[in-house]
Subunit: 323 residues, 4 copies
């Protein structure tokens, strides 16, 4: 289903090349000052424009159509719409039979018996992350005590930020794409945040993070690297009465509950599946593998635009647990 959250509940809708995408946010406390301007910075971080990002340009002007009055949230559902303006549905004509590899073209078609909107991924498109970013902005306004530091720690397997741009450019020039790893660090999460079992900070966050297209891995603290340590190395000893730990291999979470230290999460973003070079894949109308050239405008490295989306998912998760 297209809703998540118990106390800060988001509901998303829309398609990549339909008239708009939107989000309704339930559980926003009354009295929080909010305006369309507050969305500008985070939406800009997500927007295309840098080398390696898609040529599709959306203005991403948030239209707040409910839940706001006289510049403050009212406590009623806050609904935000984003018009789709730069659509080119004609780019996607032939994809229903000749499915793009590692895309959802075929799974969506099977799931919805061919009635899904196939244009640009339809409902299963990265376009919907604009609404998630908007939810993140609202969540952050509700939780001003939180501080987020989000960055790309890897691009195409390289860990040297100075070389990220050239890596992406080399891939793009080769008609190819690269993936990356996004890291988000959050301070200000009070110890005691989170619930047991399925309400663990990791559980609530991972559910949202894996809803972001192209995310295929999530780890907290030392994560997979931590599984290679011994307990004596891994364990985070407490060093003071505030509960600060000498190391932070647990990423600020014990037993699913925040311990007051920095919350650390890393997300693996796969390479953009839409690449310029010809691919060979099955054509269901032809009944055999055929060369496929993907039209449309695409990112050579979707991870470049993913940071703020990951941050938004974390903000929404924490709003759900903290409000």
């Amino acid at each position: 289903m297209n809703s998540a959250g118990e106390r800060f509940r988001i509901t998303l809708w829309g398609e990549s090349h339909g008239p708009m995408v939107g989000i309704a946010i339930d559980g926003v406390p009354a009295g929080i000052p909010l305006s369309a301007d507050d969305f500008r910075d985070d939406l800009a971080r997500r927007r295309a424009g840098a080398p390696g990002t898609t040529a599709r340009r959306e203005r991403d002007e948030p239209q707040i159509v409910s839940g706001l009055w006289q510049g403050h949230t009212t406590g009623a559902p806050l609904t935000i719409l984003f018009a789709n303006t730069d659509t080119r549905p004609e780019d996607y004509r032939s994809l229903t039979e000749h499915c793009r590899p590692s895309h959802a073209d075929r799974t969506a078609r099977i799931k919805w018996h061919g009635f899904n909107d196939p244009r640009g991924g339809g409902h299963l498109s990265g376009r919907l992350t604009v609404a998630l970013v908007a939810a993140g902005v609202v969540a952050k306004r509700c939780l001003p005590q939180l501080r987020f530091r989000t960055c790309l720690t890897e691009v195409g397997g390289l860990c040297t930020p100075a070389r990220f741009a050239e890596t992406v450019e080399a891939a793009r020039a080769a008609g190819d794409s690269v993936g990356g790893v996004v890291e988000c660090r959050i301070t200000g999460v009070p110890a005691g945040t989170g619930e047991p079992l399925f309400g663990a900070v990791e559980s609530v966050a991972a559910r949202l993070l894996f809803a972001i297209p192209a995310v295929k891995g999530v780890e907290f603290g030392a994560g997979f690297a931590g599984s290679r340590m011994r307990g004596s190395q891994y364990n985070d000893p407490i060093v003071d009465a505030e509960g600060r730990t000498a190391t932070n291999h647990d990423g600020g979470i014990n037993g699913g509950i925040a311990n007051g230290n920095e919350l650390v999460v890393r997300v693996a973003v796969k390479p953009t599946p839409s690449i310029a070079r010809t691919q060979h894949t099955f054509d269901f109308s032809a009944g055999r593998m055929e060369p496929l050239v993907i039209e449309g405008r695409h990112d050579a490295c979707i991870a470049l635009r993913c940071g703020v989306v990951v941050e938004a998912a974390m903000a929404v998760a924490l709003a759900d647990l903290m409000l």
Copy 2:
């Protein structure tokens, strides 16, 4: 909250050293043959006994107290109880002030203002996974078309199964512990399984997987390694009319929806935080760091017992999406 699932909903309760742990499973179809015997194999896989596992011995006899009649499920909630018999609460006396590093002792205490049951982790204990394994057995009976292959692919950073036992033994002998990586592969998941966004196979599965104590990372298909590939390498071309793919870097999931290929998930399990050797950590009653020796009976490698729990979480996730 201690419930998960929309159509196959599980609710867990109990404490490590209380009288019992239990689970209510709602949404089980009527008419499925089931008996206490069906639980034997999976419970045995989770049970301690092998070198490197805890000395605590529970009989893990499932008591089915509702939802079963004349050997078949009735459609009403299926409730299963497991008595705790081999408890030693006296081992945990001093832990409330002198918290075990990388354990939930302190976070639980803060969250519940000191009213939590602190004995052996209380409600936040691996003991509750016995109930999750039972839910997995029921889920598997509901979905007989699924085939699970689950194994440890790493122990203590080593990828050579022949050397796992000695790695664990070396850690144990050193008063230490090791982590590991569990991989679960599932065939038989029909293409089209899963929902958009927060109902993605990855989202639903990850929420359950991160509820397992000691799990700190989850990846699907190529996961983090996939983020280091180029699109041209990563993309899984479709090779036939059944939708089979030449490679399976996406782990059988596109756009959150199963594509009919093998579903592949890997889980990072941290080293058991309870280790025999002395640790230095803050003592809240003393107001300074003090040496801590952990009593109690513990696993040197909790990952050894985690495979069937991971498998159970996947079975429960798929039951929720497929029923």
Copy 3:
């Protein structure tokens, strides 16, 4: 929260005098033919215009902005917007301090600490029922086997339909209002529909029905009158192999589960609280009771427009239980 439903889930937003009200419907099966025209009849039944209804005129043109492609539902969330055009927020200036009796002015103000949109009831307005009616239309399209017969059985305490109009007119002429009772009968509900306990047909329906402003009572079958019968009179004997019953005091539901007979529900609608004549009620700014004259345009009998809303709520409830 502003969502209801597990399998057919609706989320509503908007305010009486804001730019629009809207609804997102999740769980609509793919492939159902649908167009804006399909909404015309039910929206017309709700619309004002008859004697005794408000002078506010909204065009109620449904704008379907997601989940529809090439004339069929796609399986993604179906979102429908209704612009508010005939608003007169200036009518509601003074109501925040001098609250209208039996209205939500004061409770909304307390709940949201004065940040609620007070114009025309804001989010707590009958205006939102336009979105519920739209959801009902979609639910009916999903369940074409159902047949609804809905009527007013009482107006102002009278049970003679021929005299309803004059009763309303007499109240209106006296600057007053009347209530009524709406009855909805549904055939085609398959035996076995409904879940135990909180998923009872009555439970799921009542939750939605009581969300309609002015509804203060709900009964199924013989309802309150049934509580005055003896068991030997009340009990509905089964008369044939199809399970038809000689009487239908249970309103087609046994143990919360439909028995295949006609489903019967009745709803008590209170008199419109906004009346033209002067009322005396506490003025919080003056600190004493003061005469209040309510501006704005109102229905003398809101029950006249309620039938299709009740029907919509029942359709939504059944869609949630039957899909």
Copy 4:
């Protein structure tokens, strides 16, 4: 499904003639003093024993098996079991084919394809209300500011309490049964309690109330009688700065939100469907209507035992909205 609630969530299980019924309560705050003794009074109010109640005698000893430690709630799920001891499953042998009129025998059989436990109604039995009463006790402990006054206002259509006993006895002597109306009044509910739309106090309460077997109608304040008033009579003017109203036709709720006045709800309970006298109803094995004599032990007026169950449902609803 067998769960209800967002913040105070109850999950029920068990069958009338199975080994036990039970309830898990999630969302109970930590630190509330609780013991088995606290349940005694409310369980006694529900227990049979008075003239007109069933001859089945259960000890109703609550076994608290999780979520309690050192006499206080821990914040983890509180689970309570009630053993079934006085069962006589042999009384229900023939009911699967010759269904009791106005009982759930046939609907349960259809819903679960004959796999339901048919003994004494199985899962759809009034026996489960013992668990709901227990949840009510816990809810009341969480909300000590509430005061409940619950009584029978009608029995068999009579409103004179002095004659209730003879009315029930007359019915019983005639091999028949009677229904009744339960009224529950609650003070101490803070103004502002409740949510818009589907979280209305009426919606949340009605969902729980209609889950009680035999309940067929629910009204708040003046309810159905209110629908027969004019607005000028019905409206509740506010008389002071505390928001007290001169009348209380709205039953303490405006727009779904409590206004701080007494909360008033009335519930219609149908006559017990199990009656001693012979009934004629369809026998599915014989293929024709046949006389049916119901064995088993039954209440001549189930409403006599329903008051505390209604009160419990209201307490649970308010805990969900207030905690």
